[in-house]
Symmetry: C2
Subunit: 376 residues, 2 copies
């Protein structure tokens, strides 16, 4: 660890932990008999994506067209763009399909279906579409029994588009208080996708793909009968939100932000470090959980967590570290100049603040760096 020569703050990746996380999800989904289509918005790196897709059919899920381009340039062709398509992006989608990308888009509104149908005709492109289904009223999607589901599919089919299937993401699983809740959410997710596909099949559509998932539901699903693939992303690194949910342990969290102590606040027994929200993100995903981890849980330089020490505040390039209960830290234990690591509330958000990862877990890899793609 101490052989990281990078300036602080920087993002560290413990590949041993990451590999364990990847293997655990692989074993789980194998036992459920369903393929993984990893969501690579968490890692945004090709080496990690290759490890995630090893032994899988090879498809990935992305959250931006910039990710689609980056992974395609590195040889990945089967790509689900899992954010409701903005009609303004259809020419860009068509252009990528013409270059050989098997790019699937999602939508949940007849207005979007009409825009896609119109672009299909104008651009001469048979778009590949999954209908987005709502399992929990959390964000987007049509309910499995919504009339707009068949209406939209019919609009698309008349324009020559491929109705490749349905997809669902139970984001509500992130707010469950118990494992039993996540298990029920997984079943709700599965059942709504299967019900929607069933209706679409009765209406004459083929629906080969039934895509479900989130890290919590993938971790606790009892049965995924009917689903053809599971999407999960954050399991690759895990984070404090997942640990708070019971999806992982603190010791599974594979990324952290390396920082250095730059000052002491003797009045209130707090530390100043050189990692602020620019390095940690402003994510406060544990704020509503049983244990609020502030802007991140603090570890020593080797990665061993202090149970009761968190980042209590952030400015752009300043972090303020204190005890969770507000009592003063023994500042003598944290002299100016020592390095600490901070575990993230939300791996996707913290990683997004960085251009890449320093690999830290094996001596021969100590100075290896993995880049991340960025933008839209």
């Amino acid at each position: 660890m101490t052989n990281i020569h990078s300036t602080t703050p920087c993002l560290l990746l413990d590949t041993a932990r990451m590999t364990r996380n990847i293997e655990r999800m692989r074993t789980r989904l194998q036992s459920l008999g369903v393929a993984l289509r990893p969501h690579v918005k968490t890692c945004k790196n090709i080496d990690i994506a290759r490890q995630l897709t090893a032994g899988q059919p090879g498809g990935i899920t992305v959250s931006t067209l910039a990710e689609a381009d980056y992974f395609f340039e590195h040889g990945m062709t089967d790509i689900l763009y899992a954010v409701g398509i903005a009609p303004g992006k259809l020419p860009a989608v068509a252009e990528r399909m013409a270059r050989g990308m098997t790019l699937r888009i999602i939508l949940d509104h007849p207005q979007t279906a009409k825009a896609v149908a119109q672009a299909a005709v104008e651009l001469g492109t048979r778009f590949r579409v999954l209908m987005e289904i709502d399992a929990d009223g959390e964000r987007a999607g049509l309910r499995a029994d919504a009339p707009e589901l068949i209406e939209s599919a019919n609009i698309l089919e008349r324009a020559g588009c491929h109705i490749d299937g349905v997809m669902v993401h139970a984001g509500g699983s992130y707010r469950c208080k118990h494992i039993e809740g996540m298990r029920r959410m997984a079943e709700q997710e599965r059942a709504s996708a299967v019900a929607a596909a069933e209706r679409m099949r009765q209406a004459g559509h083929e629906v080969p793909i039934i895509s479900v998932g989130s890290t919590p539901t993938a971790t606790f699903a009892d049965d995924l009968t009917g689903a053809t693939e599971v999407r999960a992303g954050v399991h690759v690194f895990q984070d404090l939100v997942q640990a708070g949910l019971g999806v992982c342990e603190i010791d599974d969290i594979a990324i952290s932000v390396l920082t250095e102590v730059i000052g002491h606040r003797t009045d209130d027994g707090k530390l100043l470090v050189d990692a602020g929200w620019m390095a940690l993100s402003r994510d406060r995903g544990t704020a509503e959980q049983a244990v609020d981890q502030g802007y991140g849980l603090v570890c020593d330089a080797s990665g061993k967590a202090f149970d009761d020490v968190i980042v209590t505040g952030t400015n752009q390039e300043h972090g303020i570290i204190g005890k969770r209960d507000g009592s003063p830290l023994n500042l003598d234990r944290f002299p100016v100049g020592i390095r600490l690591r901070i575990l993230p509330n939300h791996a996707c958000a913290t990683a997004a603040q960085h251009n890449g990862y320093w690999i830290v877990d094996s001596p021969e890899q100590a100075q290896r760096w993995l880049s991340r793609c960025r933008g839209w």
Copy 2:
């Protein structure tokens, strides 16, 4: 506006508003007889920094060594690195000074002073240091009457370092409820810096630089006698936090995130757009203000704000837009595919999520793009 060909989401910059903001601060500081050392962590772009420093002595303030490098490569040599120096960065500072950068560092702890003194001897570098002074107990700095102030300066002087002055930032000004509070905070900032400098002068140090500032205190200071320079950064773009403080009007905010409507939530009368926290940041700086702007205030594509429409929730690449009072939006006014703009809570945080700016305010510049530097 509609001639922006970029994909959504992207960051727009209205240079007419920006120029007005820059001119307003310039006029103010001229009337107070003090120079501006702009904090370029907000813009992170050389063209904007040149506009900010025009008519000023030319020095800038940065928050990372990556910014220092970027602006130095573009010809700016007088740079204050305004985050307490991490001892691990001293070799990097020495290397930059050897290349001709007039790089000043700050510190507020005798431990840091000792580390700087030791590095000065080991590296043969006469570091240039400002002592960081605390005006409000908000973040960092030594109080003007702290014994550690003279102790630290003496440690540095014995090692041959330059004690170039004092600096203070009244971050507490961001939490003021009234203009009178910001005015008092400006005086508190000025007085603490001047008092600290006076003590250091009595102890035999020269203290040529007395650097004060924040956008709120720079905007409302009555008198800056004794200060040699003011640091302000966010005034270049302004934002909803500044508008909430009374520092600017909503119509002064020069950056916004362009987004496209991707869906409707008919159950609760909300919109889905393709700008989530990745494009907006997770900053909720208006949450504690009188008017909570959610994750940003929504405007039409031309930049005209809807007073009562805000981003109520964000996921990575999804934004949820609704009325501030929770009542349903008239979704017919916002069909799928139209574009909207979102004003940021905190300009520094939102801009940091983007690789650059699209210039939008004059037709001939419509496709001009300004890049931002990034990282540490």
